[in-house]
Amino acid sequence: MARGNRTVGLQRPGGSAIAAPFMTVALRHGAGRASTLDLTPDPSFAARQRMEIRDLADAARLWRLCWTLAWLDIRLRYRGSVLGPFWLTLSTAAMVGSMGVVYAFLFHMDSREYLPFLALSLVLWGYLNALVTDGCLTYTTVEAMIRSMRMPYSLYGARVVMRNLLVLAHNVVVIVAVFVTLRVWPGVTALLVLPGLVLWLADSLAVCVLLGALCARFRDIPPIVGSIMQMAFFISGVIWKPSQLGAREWLLDFNPFFSLLEVVRAPLLGEVPSAFVWVSAAVYSVVLCATSWLLFARVRNRIAFWV
């Protein structure tokens, strides 16, 4: 564009004399950039932890890159379409609308009670499912990047999380629309969602880092994960209410998917999750994050060889 014309005569091809002005604008790495790379293999537990913490800190420093990558991922997926990412919103809305009518009838429920539940469930589950499926490909899809530049590995995980959060943000519109139309208001209880969201954020990153590494090493895992998620959709009380199980409600008590879904869903419906749900969600999260942390510390330096 006009930028190139600022320095007159530079557009002329060939000739070394014109090359000199380019050099004046070439950039140097900022002084703030960490510029000592010491790679001494140290298999000790403490050294692995230090490398992992450094990886996470480096990724955190690159948050703007992470955000841009996630945003461009979404934009590219919907390049050239009129509605862009709002196609997601529309398809979720259609799903909630059609399922709402049929299942409210099947379950003999008042659709004013069932629709907000279903909208919330489907949107939240949509995030979980997409995140887990996407998380399997955290490293394998960026193989070229991994092999050409040293980058913190957790950055790739954070990118997947952020990408899916952006998709979730588009789908939240459906929830709001349903709540407004039906004049449902969860009240201040909704604030109880905050600890749940914190758990979700930590778990999301843990899932991407964990599954990304496992799937880079064992290529059979993504289809396995896919079928687990499909099964979980039906058994975790996503489209049916836990109360419908009646005396068998304890069946949900040991389902991690249900606990994690419930800590976010219940407050938004104006209900306070039971203490058991809180505790089990926290325990599952701690187990997940700890597993992910230990595995990542163990295999971080092998990922480049696996992808």
């Binding site: 564009m1 950039l27 900022g30 070229a144 990047m145 059979d220 060889f305």
Partner: protein
């Protein structure tokens, strides 16, 4: 800070998880039948680098020569911190830029401008620095109005120019370079050469992997001849090149 590179007894093994060896089934079955240890030991590994040691100080220009599969690119990637060694030690002081892949991180679906911004972000540049990067790259690559079109619609020459301009816009203290940069049309190469030479001069340490003797002679002061992942010979450029090529060489007059 003074730039320096230390490599001590560096070894890199590539595990090959081809065919069945990679599958979960095999590992699970192995566990059940108690064959895991045997399986681990029989794992096929390629010994890409064997006991490589050298030191580079500010001002050193090192050329890596050797046939295909000698480990040149692997050594560059190891120095860049992409592959971490199992044994041995790598210490690199100074900001580092590795030109290994001409289209490094370039996404053909994004516009030229977006690719430039991404590269800036990858290198941790501030907003103002990214603006200067954009100007510099746009001017050098002569993309004109194509800058706001997806890279997918560029001619191959434009892609090469953009890739080259991006790679050479950020000048490091330690420059690691693979031989790809020698590709390109003659007209562009003239300008590219000047820019590249300027970058090479600006770098404190250069490590260059190439097949071309003239490039080694005009840029490098020291050459390491790699053969099957080992250092076959390490010494002054002419001496090692003569041994490698099997005939006398002379440094071009500059």
């Amino acid at each position: 800070m003074e730039a320096a590179i230390t490599a001590e007894h560096v070894c890199v093994d590539f595990p090959l998880y081809h065919g069945n060896a990679r599958s979960l089934k095999r590992m699970v079955l192995g566990t059940v039948t108690g064959r895991v240890a045997a399986d681990t030991k029989r794992r096929v590994v390629v010994q890409a680098l064997r006991d490589i040691s050298f030191q580079l100080r500010s001002g050193d220009r090192l050329g890596l020569i050797g046939g295909n599969g000698a480990g040149k690119t692997t050594l560059l990637r190891t120095l860049a911190g992409i592959y971490e060694t199992q044994t041995g030690r790598i210490l690199v002081q100074g900001s580092l830029n590795a030109l290994l892949d001409p289209n490094l991180g370039m996404n053909v679906e994004l516009t030229g401008r977006e690719n430039i911004m991404l590269r800036g972000l990858y290198n941790g540049l501030k907003r103002s620095a990214i603006r200067r990067l954009e100007e510099d790259v746009a001017t050098f690559a002569e993309l004109g109005e194509f800058l706001d079109l997806p890279v997918r619609v560029y001619s191959s020459g434009m892609v090469v120019r953009l890739g080259f301009a991006l790679a050479t816009a950020i000048r490091p203290q330690v420059l690691l370079m693979d031989e790809w940069f020698l590709a390109g049309d003659a007209n562009f190469m003239e300008r590219a050469k000047v820019r590249l030479e300027d970058m090479v001069r600006g770098a404190d340490i250069l490590v260059l992997s190439t097949h071309v003797a003239e490039v080694v002679l005009s840029w490098c002061t020291r050459v390491i001849w790699l053969d099957q992942g080992r250092v076959r010979q390490d010494g002054p450029a002419e001496q090692v090149l003569e041994a490698y090529l099997g005939h006398p060489v002379s440094r071009p007059v500059s």
